[in-house]
Assembly symmetry: C2
Homo-oligomer: 356 residues x 2
Amino acid sequence: MNNLRETFQQTTGQISGHGKRNAGVLKTAFLDVSDDLPSDQYGTGSVIQPFEQKLAATLGKEDAVFFPSGTMAQQIALRIWSDETSNRTVAYHPLCHLEIHEQNGLKELHPMDTLLVGAVNRLMTLDEIKALPEIACLLLELPQREIGGVAPAFAELEAISRHCREQNIRLHLDGARLFEMLPYYEKTAAEIAALFDSVYISFYKGLGGIAGAILAGPAAFCQTARIWKRRYGGDLISLYPYIVSADYYYELRKDRMADYYADATQLAERLNAVSGIHTTPEVPVSNMFHLHFAGGVDEVTEKLTKIQEATGIGLTGYIVAKDGYCSTEISLGDAYRALDPDRLNTVFQQLEHAFT
Amino acid sequence: MNNLRETFQQTTGQISGHGKRNAGVLKTAFLDVSDDLPSDQYGTGSVIQPFEQKLAATLGKEDAVFFPSGTMAQQIALRIWSDETSNRTVAYHPLCHLEIHEQNGLKELHPMDTLLVGAVNRLMTLDEIKALPEIACLLLELPQREIGGVAPAFAELEAISRHCREQNIRLHLDGARLFEMLPYYEKTAAEIAALFDSVYISFYKGLGGIAGAILAGPAAFCQTARIWKRRYGGDLISLYPYIVSADYYYELRKDRMADYYADATQLAERLNAVSGIHTTPEVPVSNMFHLHFAGGVDEVTEKLTKIQEATGIGLTGYIVAKDGYCSTEISLGDAYRALDPDRLNTVFQQLEHAFT
């Protein structure tokens, strides 16, 4: 398995992402920043507050709070809605980030319960949501990352939102990749966020920043979120390394999402044409999809390692064994556009040779 | 009040600190860092792990974990010791950071209780510690910041440590300013840390980094701390902006603490010679002390504002009203050493004129 990661790290071009995650990402963002720029200080100051207001406006919400991480932001959002509705139970998809990546933080840190809605291999349905008992909040993730980046039609989102408002259920958007979804929906971020009571977005997915998140919602919600941010130890004296870079890459890439989406669609079609390779979804709805290779983990690792070594183009640094095939995640960004088409053709020739 | 802050921000030299907290602090730390330096990734990689090991060795502990904040690190330390001893109660000073600066995070996030030991105007005593009921953990802060930076004699620390070991009480060190204490104790960090089961240190106090903390202790303790760090949303994909700068300023300033301590002692003596001005402690034991001016808040604000405007030297950006006097905090660093002695003399002449 290590060979795959090592050869990936030595590649000079990559299918996914925006280039390597290294100190250059920080240094580039700070290149034109003056040494005199004052640090934010415990959530105040000219670095943080105007940025929070800009994102609040973009998302059409009264206020927004910058957080070091989405993990912290989303647990806090659910806790606030739980307190406001005096209901301990929140609901989300079985492959929600809170369920599988946070060491059960929500329930370890809060007196809360969770319900899992739907199944691990598909989106939850409106009928499944309607069948839920009384809950404080429903969390929806757009796109649903762990099943390859799948999302409901906008009309379905509207129907879910209508139902939640009728039932006094708060609706929270895990919009880690919200900007990546806009070209598919042909909507603004605010038009989608309007269906939700609160919204989280991430700055290091499609936007390619270093770390950090925004949680947006009503003014009182954000005021309480700032208190919880202090309780969690997220109200750092200085968050500017993340904020300055988040702003830099947000402005650089927010209008490129249609390109990344188009690239994902075209690349997925080309990959699906290779026998022994397929993607989920078959037709992407954002810049991402999951990529599956027929064969066991050793066999697929060996094949991909050889291709990465031979071409210098990185497909992936890891694969996960499934039943008869292996999977990885692809998310398109600036790196794909920078690839030489001839080198990419060579990758496809070798994939066809290896997997057909 | 705003005038004091504004005039302070416009000063060209300061009594406290290492210069202004601005983007230059980050850019300086990254000046010689290659763009190719790979980011840490969720707690792994060459940026974070060797740094954690270096601090573990310096503190004489088996392992250490880098955290975005001390708030997060210390709550987690207390929770782990509480779980390990099956006791919900921890004890600390009434002016402990957890008691007054964290929006009650420990008790809001954990099923824990706290006992306050001693009084707000002095250190806790061994007798008071001996009188405590059964507790999981005692937190000691060295120096006790909110009373001006006061610390017990080393023999007293040893006696407290002995008592806690005999009584199966875990002893945690809030060593936000531990390095600043070493010249007074004439001990190494490891010699002091040896009296404690776990230790937290901060990188943006006397060391002057951007943010971030280390929590050190036994291997199993640190392993559990990493799980809680993930739960809190502190296990960021990239912490390198804080780690690289923490390491840079740690190496730059760790051996300057004796100078800062000497400066604090000499400056406090000079300030105590002015009528209407005094410091606590009268004789500092670290690089810090509290500085008190006779008079009401408006009067003292006006006087200090005028002195800052006239001299261009910053004494403080804020004062807190007390009973008949006003207080602020001074912590010596590189900025004091950079002051022109003649300009400093002018400050003292004006202080004498204003307060005598």
